[in-house]
């Protein structure tokens, strides 16, 4: 193992954003405007929703152990997958990386004292919590069974479950996302430190800039759509109700206009995380910086033009479908640019197998599978065959869990020493990363086969010949659960007992590693001036790498 150069024993700084000597008590947390503390508030709250969504997922997998359904009634099953989707998508995946890691890191990465609007940042968190309360109220008063997509007229007329509070909750939560996006865009535009030019920005910031564009342009549309659907349900109006002249397909168009780009809200920040991890542990400048930066923007832009590929079987016009199919294929280009550039960065790199790197490598593999199967689904003919089957489920879980969540957990491991000032047990973390990877594949790969063989999604029972693959999937899910619980345990443990990390344990090149770990409230003691290029290890004596030693390759030369 080629670990980083031997570090001297570090000590935590006397004054940092967490320390009690500054400001103590619950008040200092719930009324804080410090982006780092708000990030931790988000970390705690998205973890709660991840846990809730995870419990529903576990119940779904247990239920599907037997062909006739092992655990719950069909009606309850409908509620389980709906609540799983709602909790995971709106309250975990969308805020996870931006609101936790983005919030914590963007100001530090660009050398600012805080986001441009710290109070609005806190407001975003409160809006998230209020929205979350409505959704939890819906969950605990019987749940809802419409699917996370809320298609009317099921959601507006026929469903007898607690749809209204859930719709209100998601509507409210949308504004949290909008305000976060707004804050990031303004911050990246106006708050950069001297010398931090656009093309010196870390790729994490570029990814978040692209994500924020999607947040501000997409979220308002889903907000108004859900508002109309909610009004329709509450006052028996007919916007989307065919028996009153409304158009249910219109709802689907408006819904997917946001909800497809929302996939990029989830995956783009994860790509940003990977773009930070790969050069650090390959100890090489990232290959094709500007192409990776531009591909983030390209994904955000093209992502807005593909929504109707969710609707190939609604009877939309063939010509429209052709255009949407073609545009969906286009998204593969900027995505592939990223994958190839990460791979090229690894080539002849001096690779060290630290835990974040294992997550990043896992991400590349899983994202590639998820992305390629997305192309199957963008195919007009093939989509008819696999539409609404487990193939779709497997595809988007490869993107969202294999991609976004891997990126999130990997990012947490990468920046944990910065956030808490302490290291976690590395061997255990490596083990957990491998458990996660194995568990994930065992859970979701069988679902590709199931879907291809014709098992439909959202059914509470299935023909007996599908049982073997379903049992495999459930077995994988229990390994996957272990893969999530392990980091939760040792990361929490390390907050108190972990080895003190020092400012730059890996070492990495970003500005965030130039300040204390944990950083002081104002992020830097002196406003930094940036006079180096991004991801440049060669001209950075301050990183403490042995002078004159070959940076790459250090071992395993070919």
């Amino acid at each position: 193992m080629n670990d980083t150069p031997p570090n001297p024993e570090h000590q935590l700084p006397d004054r940092h954003y967490l320390s009690a000597s500054y400001r103590a008590g619950l008040r200092s947390w719930f009324l804080t405007t410090d982006h780092k503390r708000i990030a931790l508030l988000y970390l705690a709250s998205v973890t709660v929703f991840f846990f809730i969504g995870g419990v529903f997922a576990t119940m779904i997998r247990i239920h599907l152990l037997t062909p006739e359904g092992a655990l719950v009634s069909p009606e309850t099953y409908n509620k389980l997958f709906t609540m799983h989707g709602v909790a995971m998508i709106f309250f975990f995946l969308i805020p996870s990386i931006p609101a936790v890691l983005g919030n914590f890191l963007i100001p530090i990465m660009i050398g600012a004292k805080d986001l441009a609007f710290p109070k609005i940042n806190l407001l975003s968190w409160y809006i998230y919590i209020i929205g979350g309360c409505f959704v939890l109220y819906s969950f605990s008063t019987g749940g809802l069974d419409t699917g996370w997509t809320f298609y009317p007229p099921l959601s507006s007329i026929y469903s007898n479950s607690a749809v209204t509070p859930a719709v209100i909750g998601i509507f409210i939560n949308g504004f949290s996302s909008i305000l976060t996006g707004l804050n990031f865009i303004v911050t990246i535009h106006t708050m950069r430190a001297p010398g931090m030019t656009w093309f010196r920005l870390p790729l994490f910031c570029w990814a978040h800039y692209a994500t924020s564009l999607v947040m501000i342009l997409g979220t308002p549309v889903v907000a108004i759509t859900l508002l109309l659907a909610g009004l329709e349900r509450m006052f028996h109006l007919g916007f989307f109700n065919p028996s009153m002249g409304g158009d249910p397909i219109l709802f689907q168009h408006l819904f997917w206009f946001y909800s497809h780009p929302a996939v990029y809200i989830m995956i783009l920040p994860a790509m940003g995380v990977i773009s930070e991890i790969i050069p650090t542990f390959a100890r090489k400048p990232i290959f094709g910086y500007s192409f990776i930066a531009a591909s983030s923007i390209a994904i955000a832009v093209i992502g807005f033009l593909v929504w109707a590929h969710h609707m190939f079987v609604t009877g939309e016009s063939t010509y429209a479908a052709l255009a949407f199919s073609f545009l969906s294929f286009l998204v593969a280009i900027p995505s592939a640019v990223k994958v190839f550039n990460w791979t090229a960065t690894l080539y002849k790199g001096s690779i060290s197998w630290d835990p974040p790197m294992i997550y990043a490598l896992g991400f590349i593999g899983l994202f590639t599978i998820g992305g390629l199967t997305g192309l199957f689904l963008a195919c007009l003919g093939l989509d008819i065959h696999i539409h609404d089957t487990y193939f779709v489920i497997a595809h988007f879980h490869y993107i969202m869990v294999g991609g976004a969540v891997m990126g999130y957990v990997g990012g947490l491991h990468f920046w944990w020493p910065k956030i808490t000032g302490r290291l976690y047990p590395k061997a255990l973390a490596r083990f957990a990363a491998i458990v996660l990877f194995v568990g994930f594949n065992l859970t979701f790969f069988p679902q590709f086969i199931l879907g291809y063989l014709g098992m439909p999604r959202r059914y509470h029972s299935y023909p007996p010949e599908f049982q073997v693959l379903n049992v495999l999937s459930t077995a994988g899910a229990s390994i996957l659960a272990l893969g999530y619980l392990l980091p939760m345990c040792y990361l929490t443990w390390s907050m108190r007992y972990g080895k003190v990390a020092g400012p730059n344990p890996w070492p990495a090149t970003g500005l965030e590693w130039k300040t204390d770990s944990p950083p002081p409230t104002e992020n830097f003691h002196v406003t930094p001036v940036v006079d180096w290029e991004p991801y440049d290890f060669r001209h950075r004596p301050d990183l403490g790498l042995a002078a004159g030693a070959p940076l790459a390759p250090a071992h395993g030369d070919d």
Partner: protein, 245 residues
């Protein structure tokens, strides 16, 4: 973050702070455009599909009140612009005056809107069980010859529209659902705007806004103009298309 004078701690200079606030406001307005955009799309598609029913809907609206309100709102935009100008040129006494004028005009608009809503209520045009697009034609008591003639034209129009669209009751109901959703959301924005104006008024009476620092006036002004522009689109869409009187 601590504040020194008008400069918040996260910023280095007042210029940086102003640039950030203004950019933030514009981005917020972009999100508002998309927010209203979803509704406008729904309206456009339905208008295209049920042209006759939506025409009948437009004709039942009170064009006089609508026009008065449009003028009131455009004038309030003018007074708002004057408030911004006064703040920027340091005419401290004029700022609250123009803000009060703007607030007054905004209130007039909301009052007229309330009168219109009441009318719709009386005419059984609120979507729901008692909705009846024929109600007004059947129950109005015309006082003059002109009104009588008008009523006859209306009856004929409605009759013709029913021939082309037998389900005109539901489709007209769709029109009124959108009418109330769109004007309601617009009115909600006006109410928020009025709240912001009251805050501005308080701060301007304290003499807080100077040629060096007037970003709040400018940004709330931007918001106010945006809400006006929404109405400038709502007015022709809801009142004017297919109106022939």
């Amino acid at each position: 973050m601590h504040r020194t004078g008008e400069l918040y701690g996260q910023f280095q200079t007042l210029e940086q702070q102003k640039e950030s606030s203004t950019l933030g406001m514009w981005i917020f307005l972009v999100t508002e455009v998309l927010f209203f955009g979803g509704m406008f799309t729904t309206y456009t598609i339905n208008r295209h599909q049920y042209f006759a029913a939506f025409g009948i809907g437009s004709n039942t609206l009170d064009i006089t009140l609508g026009t008065v309100n449009t003028i009131v709102l455009i004038f309030s935009s003018f007074t708002m612009a004057m408030a911004v100008w006064s703040a920027q040129t340091g005419k401290k006494k004029l700022v609250p005056l123009f803000l009060i004028l703007t607030l007054g005009l905004g209130t007039v608009f909301l009052g007229v809107k309330a009168v219109e809503y009441k009318q719709k209520f009386d005419h059984h045009l609120i979507p729901g069980r008692s909705f009846d697009v024929w109600y007004q034609v059947d129950n109005a008591k015309p006082a003059t010859e002109i009104e009588k003639k008008q009523l006859e034209t209306e009856r004929e129009e409605l009759h013709n529209a029913t021939l082309t669209d037998p389900d005109i009751q539901s489709h007209a109901q769709l029109y009124f659902s959108l009418y109330f959703a769109m004007t309601g959301l617009h009115a909600l924005h006006m109410i928020v705007g009025a709240g912001l104006l009251i805050w501005l008024l308080r701060e301007s009476l304290r003499g807080r806004f100077t040629p060096q620092y007037n970003t709040p006036v400018e940004n709330i002004g931007l918001y106010w103009h945006f809400v006006d522009i929404v109405w400038i689109y709502l007015f022709p869409l809801l009142y004017l298309i297919d109106r022939h009187k």
